[in-house]
């Protein structure tokens, strides 16, 4: 079965496409809206904003989260900020420039029309959030403040100290709870989606497991939205929350949704290095720190002197040296790779030589400690808590870590997947960031999709279908429910010798070594051999204690890891077949003489979309060609 990869981009000039699309959309009469039901899975910026906005419009919304409250969604951990083309700073920003920066930052692997719309609605997001009471940073005159972020030469990032994600999420959460109180949204806590129900070719519902009672339930609706985040935990160690997982989108993939660019992973340059084998996750230090911090390594290999004793002329500020125009503010993929090269060549610092310095001494000297404290106080505190070192007195040690996945379920301009009625929002989709996401753009995309795109495009879909018509006893519902129960029973019956985390770590090691910051054909071939072996061992030798009839965190993790063990292989297959380097996808075989990513626009100016063919069968690779009519294909240059 061929996937329908029609992107449904509206005709006309790029500036007018979204307006035209909105006008062409079918509407649901206000009094008919309550007859339609919508399932939203995930309660972060994308899911939470969508559920609240659809509830405000009068639809019947059921929203699901696996955490104990929608306010826990991992959007809350975003630190740095949110971009918007407000041009409040009078420094030359515009919708077009944000669009341009995002396309270029993504190394020409995102769809122009989607990105243009994202830049357009970015300004509405700030207005909406301010009106909700999000306490953005202000100037003394009372107006909104901005800061700079990587990959841009204008100051367009709005922020709330180092807790921007928290404040934006609380805004969406409060809007959501207001709808819960009004009765238009029913919230399901501690409830995990374990399968998608497709009836007559349309997404019609989900199967969930109540994580407290173990009850497996079917929920039916007229459409399903997934705002379930990214899959960086395929690497085991990442900056994602422990619970972040791929299960919702992976189950949808196995029900026929195309998976776009699974190998596009963002490795964030500024994270706290790993300290031991027990490490459960890695902690991000916001990119905003690069505004005032300078990154360097000693000029001498394996230099073990304390950082502060190394004289100025024996330090290599390698980003400023290699990329003088952008310096410490070059995009994430470039900064990460540069750190890796330094450490590979033996200039790294700290245990194992896997670290570089991020130094604030110059900024503290210039601006004073109190200004630095005001800007980054909470980040410095996090650093000190984790490492025991004081970053006001000595430089931070940082190293890149998996942070974000640009890949995700393929969606058209309307955010609809290849399954009609299944819409995918935020990090869970593949749409806007191409091969590399710029800082402060994830929050923008999540809220754009949830507040300002889905209310239109989902309404347009609903206007063209009849509400209702199926119930929980439909054979597809029963089959999906039985499959979920059988899978849990199987996981619990193995009672093998290895724990879920042990096998997850094994997968993570393979992914990091062979599908991480630098990839090559030999390594990817090896990973494609190795991952099915780990998967085989998982299904024969995993030990999931306890029962399925009550709260069982091991069982929850086992189900998620089983899906990562399948997704990991797909990521490697995608990385192997994309024989070029672009953004975060760096194939060692394809680089310029200076070690920069070398794209192959002749062969790979497209999104790769994978179609599931059955367990242990090679999936099919399709393509959606990408056209660049406004931002002309060029090698990215941050020098």
């Amino acid at each position: 079965m061929a996937l329908n990869l029609d992107s449904n981009i509206p005709s006309g000039p790029i500036e007018q496409k979204w307006d035209k699309a909105k006008f062409d959309m079918k509407l649901v009469n206000p009094s008919n809206k309550r007859k339609y039901s919508v399932i939203v899975v995930g309660s972060g910026l994308a899911g939470g904003a969508a559920a609240a906005s659809m509830g405000e419009l009068g639809y019947n919304v059921k929203c699901f989260c696996f955490q104990d409250s929608p306010r826990r969604a991992h959007s809350i951990a975003a630190q740095g900020g949110i971009n918007a083309a407000k041009n409040y700073q009078n420094d030359g920003d515009s919708v077009y420039r944000l669009f341009y920066d995002t396309i270029k930052g993504g190394d020409f692997r995102a769809r122009e029309a989607n990105v243009y719309r994202l830049a357009q609605v970015s300004v509405d997001i700030i207005d909406q959030c301010v009106a909700q009471g999000v306490p953005f940073a202000r100037e003394y005159g009372g107006v909104l403040a901005n800061r700079s972020f990587g990959g841009a030469q204008v100051s367009r990032t709005f922020y709330a100290r180092g807790q921007t994600g928290q404040q934006l999420l609380l805004g969406a959460y409060q809007a959501l709870e207001r709808q819960v109180d009004a009765g238009s949204v029913k919230m399901f806590y501690r409830s995990e989606m374990l399968d998608l129900i497709v009836i007559d070719g349309r997404a019609r519902g989900i199967v969930t497991r109540d994580l407290v009672t173990g009850a497996v339930d079917v929920h039916i609706a007229d459409a399903v939205c997934l705002g379930t985040g990214g899959y960086g935990n395929a690497f085991f160690l990442s900056t994602n929350a422990k619970g972040s997982n791929t299960t919702a989108i992976w189950r949808a993939y196995k029900k026929g949704a195309g998976f776009g660019n699974p190998c596009f992973t963002q490795i964030h340059p500024t994270c706290i290095p790993q300290s031991g084998d027990y490490q459960s996750k890695l902690t991000l230090m916001s990119e905003s720190l690069r505004n005032d911090g300078r990154i360097w390594v000693p000029k001498k290999k394996s230099d073990t002197r304390p950082a502060n004793t190394i004289p100025e002329d024996e330090r290599d500020y390698y980003l400023e040296r290699r990329y003088p125009a952008f310096g410490n503010l070059c995009p994430r993929d470039i900064a990460s790779r540069a750190a890796k090269i330094c450490c590979d060549e033996g200039y790294g610092v700290g245990p194992g030589g896997r670290g570089v310095y991020l130094d604030f001494a110059a900024s503290i000297g210039r601006l004073g400690k109190s200004t630095i404290e005001e800007r980054y106080g909470n980040l410095f505190e996090i650093y000190e808590r984790i490492t025991g070192d004081d970053p006001y007195a000595e430089p931070m040690r940082i190293y890149p870590a998996v942070h974000y996945t640009m890949g995700g379920l393929w969606v058209d301009y309307n955010l609809q997947s290849t399954i009609p009625g299944l819409f995918v929002l935020g990090e869970a989709n593949f749409s806007d960031h191409g091969a590399n996401r710029l800082g402060a753009s994830a929050l923008m995309q999540g809220l754009a999709d949830g507040y300002f795109v889905i209310p239109y495009t989902l309404g347009n879909y609903l206007a063209q279908v009849k509400p209702g018509g199926v119930d929980e006893n439909h054979p597809e519902c029963r089959a999906a429910k039985d499959a979920v129960q059988a899978r849990a029973a199987k996981l619990l019956s193995i009672k093998g010798k290895k724990t879920v985390d042990e096998l997850h770590r094994e997968l993570g090691k393979v992914m990091w070594e062979d599908c991480g910051m630098a990839r090559n054909a030999a390594g990817l071939d090896r990973a494609i051999q190795r991952i099915p072996e780990i998967r085989e061992e998982f299904w024969n030798n995993v030990n999931v204690p306890g029962s399925g009839a009550d709260l069982n965190q091991s069982l929850e993790r086992a189900g998620r890891v089983a899906d990562f063990l399948e997704l990991g292989e797909l990521m490697c297959r995608d990385a192997l077949t994309r024989e070029e380097s672009c953004g975060g996808h760096f194939r060692e075989e394809y680089q310029t003489g200076e070690g920069e990513a070398l794209r192959d626009d002749e062969k790979f100016c497209h999104a790769a979309v994978w179609e599931y063919q059955g367990d242990n069968q090679a999936p099919l690779r399709h393509i959606e060609p990408l056209a660049f009519e406004h931002v002309h294909l060029a090698q990215r240059n941050y020098k």
Partner: protein, 257 residues
């Protein structure tokens, strides 16, 4: 180093619980407290025993999932720190600690160290928001906000909803949590229209959910991992008293056709 853990084990909401003693050898000073329990759980799983259930997610001190009592203190001994950010370098070889779930009528135990805090969501739903539908907002710079007020709003908005304040309070009051939201929104010009209604509804809801009253013991402020100030509670009381005099239910009038 070796740490002795005494952990509250309780199979479900209705079962009886008890303290169980575990010895944890080989604890590294660089581990977080939760990573130590991860290692314990791996050991228990290998032995065929039920691992310890505890809530956690971001492990960066921001999601508010984690939290239990360590030696009678929510989130443990280090001030301004969630338990996921507490590191073992603050302990020494041979230390013995006692872990219990947060205890409050409005936070029933679900299993082991995990409790049900959905009462917090219901309090927010009762009025902890500004009513503004998507799409109806004016330009963000139309309404200047005094920098100091914006900063104070941010201080209060930093609350992560972990529930430590309730667990520390002898009355199991949620006043610090509720007042943080009332202060966050009440400091901003956008929050004025609903200020009376918000105070009335949230305070009433807090009582309905089974939380106690505030008697100014100050334990909440002492344990709050985000440094939320007790002065918020004074502000809540002021708003509530004012609202109880001036607030009237909105008239339910129909429009003329």
């Amino acid at each position: 180093m070796k740490i002795i853990l005494n952990i509250w084990r309780q199979q479900n909401a209705t079962a009886a619980g008890k303290m169980v003693r575990y010895e944890m050898p080989g604890v590294s000073e660089h581990m977080s407290f939760l990573e130590m329990i991860d290692v314990l759980n791996e050991t228990l799983t290998r032995k065929g025993e039920d691992p310890v259930t505890f809530e956690h997610d971001c492990r960066e001190g921001i999601c508010g999932c984690c939290g239990f009592m360590i030696d009678g203190i929510p989130h443990g001994p280090q001030r301004g720190t969630t338990v996921c950010q507490l590191h073992m370098r603050h302990y020494k070889d041979g230390d013995e600690v006692w872990l219990e779930p947060f205890r409050a009528k409005a936070f029933p135990v679900i299993k082991d160290l995990m409790v049900d805090r959905s009462s917090f969501d219901r309090i927010i739903a009762s009025g902890g928001y500004i009513s503004i539908n998507t799409g109806s907002a004016p330009d963000g710079n139309n309404l200047p906000v005094v920098k100091k007020c914006s900063g104070m709003a941010m201080d209060s908005a930093s609350c992560i909803g972990c529930g430590a304040c309730v667990a520390a309070c002898p009355n199991a009051s949620a006043s610090l949590f509720v007042s943080a939201k009332i202060t966050h929104l009440g400091q901003l010009p956008q929050g004025q229209a609903e200020r009376d209604r918000r105070a009335m509804r949230m305070v009433v809801k807090m009582t309905e959910e089974g939380f106690g009253y505030c008697t100014n013991t100050g334990e909440c402020e002492a344990v709050c991992p985000k440094g939320i100030k007790i002065e918020n509670i004074a502000r809540m009381h002021r708003d509530y008293i004012k609202a109880s005099v001036t607030y009237r239910q909105e008239a339910q009038g129909g429009g003329a056709g």
